[in-house]
Symmetry: C2
Subunit: 477 residues, 2 copies
Amino acid sequence: MNSRPDKDVLDALKAVVGDAGFREEAADLEPHLTEWRGLFQGRTPLMLMPSSTAEVSAIMKICSTHGVAVVPQGGNTGLAGGAIPGIDGVDAQILLSTSRLNQVTDIDAENYTMTAGAGCLLAEIQSAAQDAGLFFPLSLAAEGSCQIGGNISTNAGGTNVLRFGNTRELVLGLEVVLPDGSIYDDLRGLRKDNTGYDLKQLFIGAEGTLGIITAATLKLFPAARATATAWLAVESPAAAVSLYREARRRVGDELVAFELMPRIAIDMVLEHIPGTREPLDAAQPWYVLLELASARNQAVTDEQLTDLLGNCLDRGLVQDGVVASSEAQRGDLWRLRHSISEAQKNAGASIKHDISVPVSGMPEFLERANELVEARVPGIRPVPFGHLGDGNLHYNVSQPDDMKAEAFLALWEPLNELVHTLAVELGGSFSAEHGIGSLKVAELERLGDPVKLRLMRSVKQALDPGGIMNPGKVLRS
Amino acid sequence: MNSRPDKDVLDALKAVVGDAGFREEAADLEPHLTEWRGLFQGRTPLMLMPSSTAEVSAIMKICSTHGVAVVPQGGNTGLAGGAIPGIDGVDAQILLSTSRLNQVTDIDAENYTMTAGAGCLLAEIQSAAQDAGLFFPLSLAAEGSCQIGGNISTNAGGTNVLRFGNTRELVLGLEVVLPDGSIYDDLRGLRKDNTGYDLKQLFIGAEGTLGIITAATLKLFPAARATATAWLAVESPAAAVSLYREARRRVGDELVAFELMPRIAIDMVLEHIPGTREPLDAAQPWYVLLELASARNQAVTDEQLTDLLGNCLDRGLVQDGVVASSEAQRGDLWRLRHSISEAQKNAGASIKHDISVPVSGMPEFLERANELVEARVPGIRPVPFGHLGDGNLHYNVSQPDDMKAEAFLALWEPLNELVHTLAVELGGSFSAEHGIGSLKVAELERLGDPVKLRLMRSVKQALDPGGIMNPGKVLRS
């Protein structure tokens, strides 16, 4: 099956979707064949853009009959090359874009649910919820261009996981077209349903290797009425973990963000990002950006934050801090956090890791990871930052000042290996948010439990016996 | 494989667990062979009580080699006959009790997680969390005798689903012994991990048909500091749904219980349960028991509830109400709710249904279900009550006053069929909390999507090719 499909088959596929539903010119295909960081470049003979579940079903019937591989793609914002067809350079795999499956078909305010097509942009879903006076919590940097089907297929994380969970926890129902074209319809807004295996869980996070998600019923939440944000200095990651424990204990569910940043990250931001400024009087080794959101009024929420900080300052858990007194100041604090990746680009080459460990294990992880990478590359500059409340940090390392970028980047794999092995040794994950895609298939084989890999292959074989769904992603084909 | 295993095989199994680890006398086996409502009576040649995961693994290796079927059992508190071996009257199936896998091995307060053996009682898990100043939210009537492994295998619901989700949402990691004896070890306390298919989801809610859950890592939460409870009169189920929507909007995550009850249920309780009393001055058609829990202090939480009720009374959503002013009064209100099942037993024979629909669809469900059962059995008395906030009601119907109990109970299946079919037609479920077990296998075949059933069989075949795990439960073997 690793060759260009016959013209007859391609014509039959085009006939399913009509003229508006396919692209085959190189210029049209190009944006869909390049992973946005440039790590992968693909090929395809044809991009299909079905406008209904029935069309997706008809496409899969043809493809399964003829053994043609299909790669689903949403907004193409993934970071692991999971949505790029033909990365082996062969134009054998059809690209199936979900972009025209983009209708919000139902908002049920009394049930706190929304049903939407896979091609809806995440930002559109957020707005539709907001227009109904409700809230959809999934939020991430690519929200203006990523699609909800892709978010579900990759079990996206983002900035609201601490309170609301990953995408998996936001999905109540799914519609999926299976490799043989049959439609698994579980598009229901039920909080409780124990009638057999919960099969939708298999498709969530499967990165398109088991079927094509065409629509979903999502959980909505009450909109928050008040937000309170603080920028706090702490002595160490261990102090940050103690602060996290205490903050959750004292404010419960109102704690919605708990981000950790080292001083070096703030130095990079202040040096390279115009308009940013130091929030506290004196430099401190570590910072926490903490946010509360509440259904109560602003005054009560502010008081809650003030009480928490007063207590933590008294007990020495926090060295210094500032509470945002306006929406503009809140924006400034978040901008420091969100500018780290961009600032780091100006500080030479960097190598990124998306690890998680139990929150309690983060201080040990940081200490040992720093030792390991420093021993391998003296002068290396670790810039670990991110969602400490989720046990998930972006453990990014910048090159030594006196090293050539190429020489440093040549160490990508050995540095990955050191960091990933340590995370797994500490009961953690080498891909907390971004998935496996093409990028980490070998790493999953190296670090994954053999029993897990065997089970995964059994499931893949059971659901996609012809091996036509996004072959080579997640599992080697 | 449907005959008593050979003596050699039974001896080999006994040797794995030693003298303390098995039972074979009828008197010892009896409590494990009867489903507690008496709907199923089973048989087994041997009950094994392994004390370690390694022993479970050794047992499964022997059973898979010899094609011996194994039925896992926790506290034997299920309501669908899922944990009873040999309900066909043949002593072919080994009973594997998880009761000695009962150690809490780790509480990580900074990570808000606990790791515990499958045999821990739910009440022990709750206490262990409480002793650490934390909270495990799963709570249900059988919590003093059910085991966490069984709760996970059945994806138990209970009274805290509105805020905390079903058991599935409380599980971060699992250890599972597979049918061939290999051990799937995913016992990790990670909030984010996107490294391949999330296989633990398959075992949660599979009722022991895919493997044996031996341990789990569970999410813990901050303990609530304050609780506020109200008993409210509403005009109709539609008014209750509007009240639910408004209550969630105004108090957000602090809304932890929202139970609906009809007047007839309260009449039955007041008549048959000593020491109960009418909470409001005048009888009303419907009641809501609403509870808030908060990390804030009691005064702030009481004020939140008072504000909510004042607003809802002003707007006519609520007709009358009382707020519990003491823990004793709170207990009295909950006792009215929890006594309904018992009271109903005194009002003649009843037939129970465990249905869910979207919250918004509940008024239509109740109206149509009442019409259907009344048309079938004139004078029938519907007593629908339960977790309206989860879209889950116990739609129980009591016999007409002038009918013989036997005549009424003979209508069990046709009444089930009417009610279940309606629930599914309205996008709901015919088994919201209790699962399929043995009781609802035929109903799943009748009402389940054929694509779903086919997929379930594929998954079962892939994970348990020999068909030795709890055969005949969930899916016909």
